[in-house]
């Protein structure tokens, strides 16, 4: 007789466990007491020993699924035995609890064979008794034979589930014993007979009466035309792909949510005329590339402008601890958000105030490359005091960035594009960019935030002015 593997009693306070790893595959030979499957509770991992020797015939509860004490996990077949047709388990313990609506979590539907499901009585017919937990130590759910010696516990359970009497079923087993297959055949047979006989599905035993299509009320006006379906609608398959989130993704989610929960987000923005900086960069770009091998982007200029503005508005370079201490940082470690396949990361340019434009250009490029090739060191992503994010790289003209908590400010830079602007009563074409700062309104008032943003704008619009105090 097939032997079931069940979750044994593991202690008074243990009511369920997660199926960890199946140490054997279906079809693997098993020696008695050999570990077959892991059950994981909060801090303990138990390898269940096989209750009998044989072959692992069927895994009924897959890895990662929560199983109740007493629930069947799999079936061990002894020599010469095979699984009954339909592949179902002899006694799906979780199924018994399903009809009762009891507190026990039902086994997931995938654990029931499709043949069984439609025949299960909707309610009432199913026994509400909880599956008997196996005695401490025993991994076997071999209930002793009760009043009826002719059927196995699995078959008895099946009979009970379908509210059948064994005397009405012809046995094909040894000595006329009713097997599981006999019961399934009997159920299938009566279902077919009922369906063929009456047309009314409700008459079939065990079928849900509610399933019969409701007919329109007599006397009500009958619509003459069906709702026309547009020819272009394809039958919707509602396809979904389910993918486990990577750890990087979970980490990003956690950080974003924490920022949203902890900081009082507020954004303000302005238009920056980048025309002169565009010209300046265009003039220098080739030379920088050929002389130093560095791609001169706008980012080092923006970094310079941000650091200058942060020095004038130190509250944007601060943070506030939960106990209410405000830390004004006298160093300028500027994070730069980098897009990667794996997900966003924010490497930090340390001491940006003490680096030249060329050094910044080189470092930004290097950090970006290493971020994308997953070669950042821990130090590269720590210690930021303010962050810049460039949504313009992919064409965005505006955005409201999330603060890189516990920092209190993030600057969003965007696409530089020619736009018509009005200067001195004339419409002219200028290279414009939207500049956004999101700030933590707990610590940063609107005024310094707007002033900070305006200062960054001034510096970017007039890069030559930087010469005044840097020569």
């Amino acid at each position: 007789m097939p032997v079931t593997i069940v979750v044994p009693q593991l202690g008074e306070s243990v009511v369920e466990g997660t199926v960890g790893k199946w140490l054997k595959k279906e079809g693997d030979p098993i020696a008695k007491d050999e570990p077959v499957v892991e059950i994981i509770t909060d801090k303990i991992n138990i390898e269940l020993p096989a209750p009998a020797a044989g072959t692992l015939g069927k895994i009924t509860v897959p890895e990662g699924t929560v199983a109740q004490v007493g629930q069947q996990l799999g079936v061990i077949l002894q020599q010469g035995e095979s699984l009954p047709a339909g592949g179902g388990a002899p006694a799906p313990a979780g199924g018994a609890a399903q009809g009762s609506g009891g507190p026990q979590r039902p086994a997931s539907p995938t654990q029931q064979s499709p043949q069984q499901r439609p025949q299960a009585p909707p309610s009432g017919g199913a026994p509400s008794r909880q599956p008997e937990p196996a005695r401490a130590g025993a991994a076997v759910a071999e209930a002793p034979f009760g009043e009826d010696q002719r059927v196995s516990p699995a078959v008895r359970k099946l009979l009970k589930e379908h509210n059948l009497d064994v005397s009405g079923i012809r046995g094909s087993g040894l000595g006329g014993r009713v097997t599981r297959e006999d019961v399934l055949n009997h159920i299938e047979g009566s279902r077919v007979a009922a369906a063929a006989g009456t047309q009314a599905p409700a008459a079939a035993p065990g079928m849900q009466p509610g399933r019969a299509p409701s007919s329109p009320q007599a006397g009500a006006p009958q619509p003459t035309k069906p709702i026309p379906a547009p020819s272009f609608t394809a039958p919707g398959t509602r396809e979904e792909e389910v993918v486990q989130a990577t750890n990087v993704r979970k980490k990003i989610a956690e950080n974003m949510l924490r920022s949203r929960h902890m900081a009082a987000h507020c954004s303000t923005w302005d238009e920056v005329d980048m025309t002169r900086l565009v010209e300046l960069r265009a003039r220098m770009k080739e030379r920088v590339k050929s002389t130093y091998g560095v791609n001169l982007t706008y980012m080092p200029f923006i970094l310079k402008a941000v650091v200058r503005a942060l020095k004038e508005f130190p509250v944007l370079n601060a943070s506030m601890s939960e106990s209410g201490e405000i830390h004004y940082k006298k160093y300028y470690n500027i994070g730069i958000a980098v897009h990667r396949e794996q997900g966003l990361i924010v490497p930090v340019v340390h001491d940006a105030d003490r680096k030249t434009l060329l050094q910044l250009a080189h470092e930004v490029e290097d950090l970006g490359n290493r971020a994308r090739s997953d070669k950042l060191q821990l130090n590269d992503i720590q210690g930021g005091t303010f962050t810049i994010t460039n949504a313009g790289m992919f064409g965005a003209t505006a955005s409201t960035p999330i603060i890189n908590y516990p920092e209190v400010g993030v600057l969003g830079v965007h696409l530089i594009q020619e736009r018509p602007v009005v200067r001195d009563h004339r419409i002219m074409i200028r290279n414009m960019m939207t500049l956004v700062v999101s700030f933590d309104h707990r610590l940063v008032d609107g005024t310094p935030a707007v002033q900070f943003l305006h200062r960054v704008k001034e510096l970017l619009e007039d890069p030559e002015s930087w010469l005044l105090d840097s020569i």
């Binding site: 593991l10 202690g11 892991e38 509770t41 909060d42 991992n45 138990i46 390898e47 070669k375 950042l376």
Partner: protein
């Protein structure tokens, strides 16, 4: 008299080596060739990932750990990521659960391990406590001992790690056991100075003896 438990201090030993030894000890205990035993050890820095192991509990890139020679070893115990390193006393009880007075009550077994640590700490005047629903031992809101257990053929292995004087900075590599917002501490941090390892060991042995009411005797490993 209740049957004795053989205790043996493996001293400084690599995690993998100790793991191998435990697995052998479980096999011999399950076969009835040896009695119950407790092994004590101290490991080089290593992270072990239990079956509940969540990689997001790792706070530093794996590459960085590799560069420092720190392995992340997957193990068969319950629980999440755990750090082991010098300055910890790790205890590995190899016990046939059926022989315990309460049989196969696994949660009770965990509570007993916590009790052993709590009694050990009490010897130093430290108030160790449990924090439901977490497993482990805390002093205040800082964890001083981590616990994770595995059972094979109804024999226990893995166990607890008591922070006597480890480099607490190493715990920053992980969210210990996936629990955030709760810090880690050590006996040294709590006492102001590190107690002698041999003395702590002796007190742990005494605590095991009192919790299970069985003599704990010094004995060479039985691994036949």
């Amino acid at each position: 008299m209740n049957p004795p438990i053989a205790a043996h201090d493996l001293g400084r030993i690599s995690y993998r080596e100790a793991l191998e030894l435990q697995r052998r000890a479980v096999a011999t205990r399950a076969a009835g060739a040896c009695g119950d035993a407790i092994y004590f050890a101290e490991h080089e820095p290593v992270l072990t990932a239990g079956r509940g192991g969540q990689e997001e509990s790792l706070r530093v890139p794996k590459a960085l750990l590799r560069a420092r020679g720190v392995e992340v070893v997957p193990v068969e115990r319950g629980g999440d990521l755990t750090y082991h390193g010098p300055g910890q006393i790790v205890a590995y009880p190899i016990l046939a659960l059926a022989d315990l007075p309460y049989g196969r009550d696994l949660h009770r077994y965990l509570r007993d391990l916590e009790e052993v640590v709590i009694r050990t700490l009490a010897g130093y005047g430290l108030p160790g406590s449990r924090r439901h629903p977490y497993t482990g031992v805390w002093v205040g809101d800082r964890k001083v001992a981590a616990i994770g257990v595995a059972v094979r053929r109804w024999v226990t292995f893995h166990g607890f790690a008591l922070n006597v004087d480890p480099d607490l900075g190493h715990f920053d590599w992980i969210h210990p056991c996936g629990i955030r917002n709760l810090g880690v501490t050590s006996m040294r941090a709590l006492l102001g100075e590190a107690p002698a390892r041999a003395e702590v060991l002796a007190r742990i042995r005494d605590a095991f003896a009192s919790v299970w009411d069985r003599p704990v005797v010094e004995e060479a490993p039985c691994l036949t």
